[in-house]
Amino acid sequence: MSIIEASGLTKVYRRGREEIYALKGVNLEVQAGEFIALVGPSGSGKTALLNVLGCLDAPTSGMVKILGTETRGMKERDLVSLRRENMGFVFQRFFLMPTLTARENIELPLLFSRKKVSPGRIEEILALVGLQDRAEHLPGQLSGGEMQLVAIGRALVNDPRIIMADEPTGNLDSETARRIYQLFQELNEKGITLLTVTHNPELARLAGRTLTLRDGKIVGQG
């Protein structure tokens, strides 16, 4: 079953009179339970594609369907709801709230989704990402790898079907990066669909499918 479908996707950014084509007619189908790595040189359109597929950014033209629902023309609040119910995001720069502890950062999406979860669920996520002992620490007291693990925990708390990660290991050392990808593999084995942008070919090999982008187009897959 296709969990994400995209066809004829273009994304144009305007800088003054200049038009920059980030995506040029991308077609893509992602099946439920896939682990896909988007690779390619800087400026190839990987992040633009991830943002459009994650409904964080609107395509200039083309169509995106998430779980069979076309996103074109959807109101902002419906897009928020679609993201909240189905997707979790992990960013290169973590984007943690500096005033909240690791535990509270993981709980933050629940505040917006109004979901009640048992305290055991948060402990479960902390155990999954290996941060039981660091739960009450603020981001400033954590290492880069630990911050990214908190961000992954935050992405998991609403039980998403899809996790989108943009360069999740870009700021981390190779050992921590491997740990993150192993965690992604574990999540994928539990049935979560993963799309991740990476520059690291070694890590890309851990994904089930690799899509290579260049100049806004998918130019290869393996």
């Binding site: 992040t47 943002n51 994650g54 964080l56 950014d57 902002e76 609040r77 928020v80 993201r83 909240r84 979790g88 995001f89 960013f91 720069r93 973590f94 984007f95 943690l96 709230m97 500096p98 005033t99 909240l100 509270e104 709980e107 933050l108 999406p109 505040l111 917006f112 989704s113 981001p139 400033g140 935050r154 992405a155 609403n158 943009d166």
Partner: protein
């Protein structure tokens, strides 16, 4: 975790800026509370004080300045006098229960004014039956004796039996009595037998006013009319006194109100500035929140909660500071007024406290509206294009 916790933690990030904003609100709310409290307290204190005069009408010399009434109450000098003949004419009017002559004088010692009332003690005690004294009351025919108000005795460390140099010739007078505290202007005054006051101030047979108490209050306007027929007499009713003083106070109140309005506007812009700086700094954070499932309404609600926190804290601090510093505020306000009654007119009226706190919250809601709407429109792409820790 909830929106309130989140808002409180956010405000804790920039403690200095938060504290200054709260302080700005506190100053404005403190001024507002003081003025409103003053408004309700001033008139009631004034009426209480006028009642404490124990008279229905005052006869003053014709051509007195329009503020004669307030001068008589707080002990100013009126440069005109009535004669013994005028007093006799007033007393002839039918329906008058007491007509008590008084001579007011003022002199300065080390730059501070001292107010002297020359009175007939037996008549004064009929007008002010609540007067009590430590020591004794003087009698009308005694010489070299004086009574002083309670606050004055405290201020100048005066005791019963003490002899003090007094008046323009610095004659020796013995304090025979110190009035128990009345809470009124009487606490500040010196009292002498009328004849002694006339002697030391060289105003033989002259009086400043005749305090009149009538038999039947329904007769006041008739009696006032008859008193006005005495060629050298002008009549002041208590209603006129209240009216005159309230009119004078109104101009001071308008000035205060203008100051407060300016303070409130400055404070509102302070809040707005703080919030706009804060939401601009946190645009990426809001974008991230949108990405992880926050709606625009959630973001707006959080910003509103922060604003209401700021203003409610400012309101509480302002009202608290007003109550704690009411003495200082009162002395400041009283120095601006043409006539300030004794006693306190800043007090913790629960309705007024509630109003000021509600006002501060309302101010927060109004100031927070634009920043809340602006932040609620932040796009998730703000976070992705920019960068956070």
């Amino acid at each position: 975790m909830n929106f309130v916790t989140l808002a409180a933690r956010n405000l804790g990030r920039r403690k200095g800026r938060t504290a200054l904003t709260v302080l700005g609100v506190a100053v404005a709310i403190s001024l507002l509370f003081s003025l409103l409290s003053f408004n309700s307290g001033y008139e009631s204190q004034l009426n209480r004080e006028i009642d404490s005069l124990g008279v229905h009408l005052l006869a003053v010399p014709k051509g007195c300045p329009y503020e004669a009434a307030s001068l008589i109450m707080h002990g100013g000098v009126i440069p005109k006098y009535l004669s013994a003949q005028d007093l006799a004419s007033v007393r002839e009017i039918d329906g008058i229960k007491i007509a008590s002559p008084m001579l007011l004088h003022q002199f300065y010692v080390s730059g501070s004014p001292h107010v002297v009332y020359g009175v007939r003690i037996n008549e004064t005690l009929l007008l002010k039956p609540w007067w009590k004294v430590e020591g004794r009351f003087f009698s009308d025919d005694e010489a070299g004796v004086i009574m002083v108000g309670h606050s004055l005795a405290e201020k100048e460390n005066l005791t019963v039996g003490q002899k003090i140099p007094f008046g323009p010739q610095r004659e020796e007078f013995q304090i025979v009595g110190i009035l128990d505290r009345t809470g009124e202007q009487d606490d500040q005054f010196h009292f002498l037998p009328l004849a002694e006051a006339q002697r030391i101030f060289r105003k033989q047979d002259r009086i400043t006013t005749v305090a009149v108490k009538v038999e039947d209050v329904r007769e006041i306007s008739r009696i006032a009319g008859e008193m006005e027929k005495i060629p050298s007499v002008q009549v002041v009713t208590m209603a006129q006194i209240t009216g005159t003083i309230m009119n004078l106070a109104a101009s001071a109140r308008t000035l205060l109100l203008s100051v407060i309005a300016v303070a409130l506007v400055i404070s509102a812009f302070g809040i707005l500035n703080t919030l706009l700086m804060s939401i601009n700094e946190r645009a990426q954070e809001f974008g991230m929140m949108k990405a992880i499932g926050a709606s625009g309404l959630d973001i707006g609600r959080m910003v509103m909660a922060e604003t209401v926190f700021l203003t409610a804290a400012g309101g509480l601090l302002g009202v608290g500071a007003s109550l704690v510093g009411s003495g200082l505020i009162e002395s400041l306000v009283k120095s601006w007024l043409p006539y300030a009654p004794g006693g306190s007119f800043l007090f913790a009226d629960p309705a007024l406290l509630a109003f000021c706190l509600l006002f501060s919250v309302l101010m927060g809601l109004i100031c927070g509206l634009y920043p809340a709407v602006k932040s609620s429109r932040t796009s998730p792409m703000e976070a992705i294009r920019g960068g956070m820790e």
